[in-house]
Amino acid sequence: MSDPSYPDALPAQHRLHWYALERVLGQGGFGITYLARDSNLDQAVAIKEYLPVEVATRRPDASVRSRTEDQGERYRWGLDRFIREARTLARFDHPNIVRVLSVFEHNNTAYMVMRFEEGENLAALLERRRTLPEDELMRVVLPILDGLELVHNAGFIHRDIKPDNIHIRDDGSPVLLDFGSARHSLGHARTVTILVAPGYAPFEQYYSSGENQGPWTDIYSLGATCYRAIAGIAPMDAIARSKGILGSTREILIPAATIGSGRYSAGLLKAIDHALEFSEKDRPQSIAEWRRELSSGSKPVARAAPSTISVTPATAPRPFPASPAAAPAASIRGPLIWATLGAVVAAVVVVLMLQPWKRGDETDATKEKYKSSQEEARLKKDAEDAAKGQRDEAARLAKAEQEKKLVDEQARLETEAKKKAEEAKARHAAEAKKKAEAEKARLDAQARKKADADRAEAQRKHEEELRRAQEAKKAEDAKLASAAAAAAAVPKPPAPSAPAAGPDLIKQAEEASKRGNDAESLALYRKAASAGNAEAQYRLGEIYAAGRGVPQNNSQAYIWLSLAANAGHAGAKSRREQVVGTLQPAEIRQADQVVSKLRPSAQR
């Protein structure tokens, strides 16, 4: 994490048992939700950490503590609720309700482990597409209703339904997320926490202590979500609506029936408007009821059409906020001016009836009656003006919608063109890369071929050299054979021991040297030296030490001189002492090794 946006979050790779945190998915008033990996099952999960920022904070040791001692009790109480709720939610196994897998306490707080859902948030989808067609909207809403009904039947309400908390999986199925603010709805006034999403939360969530919240609260939020999907904007916030209804402003919610007219079925639009009734008692009271409206498009019983101006002046609007016991049948959605008008007219009539001058002076009464009719006409005109204003506003919104559509279409075309350009660029890049790779492969192959050729050439040269060496050796052997034959032709003493042949070979070698035939001389010395003749070995050592007719090589000289010295040649000993001074210790050891290993064969 290490994300400055989430200063209270645990760091990335932080481990909670066998869960390794990867990043923050989001943070709300109650806690932080992380994307994590279950290392046991090797799967991604979402983990919600209880961290009510109002009363608690993160400590350096990763634990969560209440900010003050006074807040400790509140924190602990919320923590208990969090755990209890997680346990309850874990019982729900519905494809459209986020699956709670586990809950555990750690770091002095608790963690709710949930299945991580891949896909796209409905808010993001709407941000991208602005509106959804009816069939697509139904595919999102109806499954959510199924899941939500299950939750409601268990005595829970979600209290935070909004596009951000509806996830669309890759297969298009929706799932309702984030029950973090869910609270048991029965008999726990203290459980109510004001967590409202402007535009999606009904008025009772702003002020209520919880007793008048129920399924209708979630229905309002779902209706608002539908409103967002058809209008492209969220409905007016409940607080603003309350001001409009109370007459302090002209902010009145434009009904879905007006905004979506012609694009969505009347039944759907009416169901949405019904869900968005300001007063909770005017809304559908259960998911089943609202589902029927959505599915059948039937108008709910005792529900005034929000777009009609049918409230008579004599019908006073239900006071707001309404107590749960008072359930007016008529809608207060219509222009309240009409209601105000009715009340004013009624008041005028009462006042007129109570005026003392009404009974005495007929002229005055006539005048007052005239004045009253004038006032009534004025009020009627005001109401008509208000209605006209609303129609104008609706027309303006419709026009804005049309303009927005054009802009969206333009943006879509631009996006497509940009996408195509990027695709073409990527294609060109891929082709260029492919070409470069092909060229590299060709050059590599060429280099390999050349290397192979070089290797073959080197091998050929090497073999040629060996062949020449062999030929030279053959020639040398032939010469030696010839010399030996010549030597053999010379009459010899009968004792033909090998060392005895040495002096003759030395003599022949000396003669060959006199004739300038160093090669023959060397060959004869070698033959005698190899036969163990110390003098020949000494002379070979001298030849190599001096580099006479051969490349100078002190190691070779040392070897032959050592062999001669070992055989008792006095001159060789002193000469070897001279040569050894030119050698490195390692070279001496190396040559000594040869001498020791070679002595038997050298004596042959």
Binding site: Y544, P551, S555, Q556, Q584, L598
Partner: protein, 204 residues
């Protein structure tokens, strides 16, 4: 092997002499002392390295081992000086830094130059830091012995630097290759010999 050291030392001598002339404070004895110290240190390290990786035993006949060693040395750019298959002796030579490449030689210089400068500095002071490793003017001579051993052959390698022209200064001329150069060259030689013989050698 690292031949450049000799050359470097020769050059170093010139540098040091230049420094002496410039400063009037370094003596010929100082230079001799520096070169001797460097030789001594390099020799000690050379002996240690040879003890570790100077000999290997192969499960091939001495004849094959001789031919393989010869081929390997040729392939690394060495030329034949003398060979005696009967003795099992083979000597090759090439201009330094062969058998190392110039790139390998640069790495050797980077690794060992500071040590050489520090050694010289004890005798000549700051001018020691003018020393450079330069392989020009030097030859590398490698001597290989290939002897029969139980179950195959035993190959031994030694290397020395040889100056193409003797130094006119009369300074000590026994130089050893820098330790990193010896390491690298031996590794390269054994690798090539093993490739030629087709078997891995076992250090002795």
């Amino acid at each position: 092997m690292r031949v450049g050291a000799a050359r470097a030392i020769r050059r170093a001598s010139l540098y040091v002499l230049a420094a002496v002339l410039a400063q009037g404070c370094a003596s010929k004895e100082g230079i001799r002392c520096a070169i001797t110290d460097i030789n001594k240190e390099f020799q000690q390290q050379y002996e240690r390295i040879l003890a570790e990786k100077g000999n290997r035993r192969f499960t091939v006949s001495p004849v094959d081992a001789f031919a393989g060693t010869r081929a390997a040395l040729f392939r690394l750019g060495m030329r034949l000086e003398t060979q005696d298959p009967d003795l099992g002796l083979l000597s090759v030579a090439a201009p330094a830094p062969t058998p190392l490449t110039q790139e390998e030689w640069k790495l050797v210089a980077q690794a060992d130059l500071p040590m050489m400068q520090q050694l010289a500095a004890r005798c000549v002071g700051l001018p020691a830091y003018l020393l450079k490793f330069e392989p020009e003017g030097l030859e590398i001579v490698i001597t290989a012995t290939i002897l029969p051993a139980q179950g195959g052959s035993e190959i031994s390698l030694t290397a020395r630097m040889r100056q193409v022209t003797p130094p006119p200064s009369g300074m000590p001329r026994r130089e050893y290759a820098p330790p990193t150069g010896v390491h690298k060259a031996l590794d390269k030689l054994w690798e090539q010999i093993e490739r030629e013989l087709g078997v891995k050698g076992r250090p002795i």
